[in-house]
């Protein structure tokens, strides 16, 4: 794409005749960069500078207050040791196993549910305009509100369990939210409830973008509905799967509020994710170096997912 900047260069010689105008036109040339500079500088300092600062802190011996004497990778060694401390589980062991369980189920269920509902909605449904916003509204809520609502809904004494008891199913038992082995699955339920509608919308947009001619051709060839979706539609949705995966993975790693609001960390911290681990160790347990090290590990995980994706996206666009 040709840019204005090129034209600008061609125009300048005419102005150069007058010295006063030259200063002004040079200022005009610099103006775009001057306008962009504060934002870029803020990004450099408050994002990249702060990341370096956090990395630096993770190699110190900081406890309650930052200390700036490098003492080596001791925080990482502790995290590494805790990684294998499963009996009784260390907080870090719990956090990363929870991350694995939550990340996998959250992403897999959101993708499956989102695709399924999108396919259902794509069957020329009457009332689609009413249904779609209903599936999507949870995305507008704060994780705190979602957590409060589901905490109430899943409470054994007040919510679902009691309701089913009243309806006569007295043997029904559902206390996951108070059970240290199952509490992480309640986070999955609330998380899926919040995000799956949005994933549905992404798939629906993808489905609407598929060329109808391809579908018709396949139907004429005698493909069944199931075959049509499995062999043709779902492979065509691959880019949507990728985008949805990136969105979900990034949401999953950043999840923090939901655990706090829904479970207050769960019995004995059994619902912690690495984000909760970081917050607790940094601000409550006075283990700043360990907290920083865990933040660095979170950042590296996200970087490994996002950077290749952004790279391919930007390259595609500039082509």
């Amino acid at each position: 794409m040709s840019t204005v900047a090129e034209t600008q260069i061609k125009l300048t010689p005419e102005h150069d005749a007058r010295p006063g105008a030259s200063v002004r036109s040079r200022l005009q040339d610099l103006l775009p960069k001057i306008v962009l500079a504060p934002s870029f500088a803020a990004t450099i300092v408050f994002v990249y500078g702060f990341i370096l600062w956090t990395i630096y802190l993770s190699f110190t011996n900081s406890k309650t207050f930052p200390s700036y004497a490098i003492t080596g990778p001791r925080a990482y060694q502790r995290l590494w040791r805790w990684t294998f401390e499963s009996d009784p589980p260390s907080s870090w062991y719990t956090s990363i196993t929870n991350m694995g369980i939550f990340g996998f189920l959250y992403i897999a269920i959101c993708l499956a549910l989102g695709l399924f509902v999108a396919i259902l909605l794509d069957q020329k449904i009457r009332g689609e305009g009413v249904l779609r916003p209903i599936y999507l509204y949870p995305m507008a809520l704060s994780f705190i509100v979602t957590g409060v609502a589901w905490k109430w809904f899943l409470d054994p004494g007040l919510g679902l369990e009691q309701t089913l008891h009243q309806w006569g199913w007295t043997s029904f038992h559902f206390d996951w939210i108070k059970n240290k082995d199952f509490v992480i699955y309640t986070v999955v339920i609330a998380g899926v409830w919040q995000a799956s509608g949005f994933i549905m919308a992404m798939f629906l947009a993808g489905l609407r973008g598929i060329d109808g001619e391809i579908m018709k051709a396949a139907q004429i060839d005698g493909a069944s509905t199931f075959q049509l979706y499995r062999r043709i539609v779902i492979p065509l949705l691959r880019p949507v799967f990728l985008s949805a995966f990136i969105v979900l993975a990034h949401l999953a790693i950043k999840s923090y509020d939901l655990v706090v609001a829904l479970t207050s960390g769960g019995p004995g911290g059994s619902a912690w994710l690495p984000s909760n681990f970081m917050y607790e160790f940094t601000f409550k347990r006075n283990e700043m170096a360990v907290g920083s090290a865990s933040a660095v590990i979170m950042l590296m995980t996200i970087t490994a997912i996002i950077v290749p994706y952004l790279y391919s996206e930007l390259r595609e666009k500039s082509r």
């Binding site: 005009q28 306008v35 702060f50 990341i51 600062w53 259902l120 996002i306 994706y309 952004l310």
Partner: protein, 314 residues
Amino acid sequence: MSAVTSPARQASSGLSARTINRIVIYGLLALFAIFYLMPLFVMLVTSFKTMDEIQNGNMLALPHAPTFAPWIKAWSEVCSGLTCVGMKGYFWNSIKMVVPAVLISTLLGALNGYVLTKWRFRGHTLVFAMMLFACFIPFQSVLLPMATILGSLGRFGATLQNATGFNFGLGNSTVNLVFVHVVYGLGFTTLFFRNYYEAFPTELIKAAQVDGASFFQIFRRIMLPNSLPIIVVTVIYQFTNIWNDFLFASAYAGSGDVMPMTVALNNVVNTSTGVVEYNVNMAAAMIAALPTLIVYVVAGRYFVRGLMAGAVKG
């Protein structure tokens, strides 16, 4: 799926199979609708019930004698920790934080997007990529340095206060949160405007330039009047994100009368003095949810567009 059934089959066993198909589809869609609506419904009906009815009645039943008392109590009396002044103060804290943060980050995003598409320079892709990546970092990786900086600015503000009688906003939690949300929202607002302006005809700008229009004149007279949809998308996206933020709010304004809504709500729900009043808690949660819900109901289309653009496919 009906469209796929071949005409021959439709003629023989046809109509009933087709009908069953439709019933199954609508049934499933209705079930999903119930799944998504259930928590909101329970929250809403609970907030209109008396405590007596909550303890003895059914969670899903409509309130027998609907009462506004829990809402009034949540707004003006409910306790967060030991202070019992209701949610209203925290609600205004959130408003005071959200409005400037949204306006500043949107304006900066528009300017950045304008420069990055229409006044390109060497390395513009790298600059954009670096700003874009900032959207995705887990904020835990900047949380502590920012806390340190805000802490020292606060101390500096106190010194200024002593010296000049005015602290210039340094150390003010609301100002701090506005600053934090602007800085970490820039990536997204820039992304939105950049992708939108990319499709904007460059010829128009060239023509205006030949006519002698300056950088800001072009921005004000040509770009901004044509940016309404993306402004709406960005404002809604930022509003929702900042209103709903909990991590920054709890780290930098986590207690006292400076808390934003989300932190206050979490404290209210976890305050364990006396009997837990679930109806009041639910009313408080509804109050926290209403602003973003209303925006969603009024401008849902733009909300979804923002989310989609946030998924980079712009």
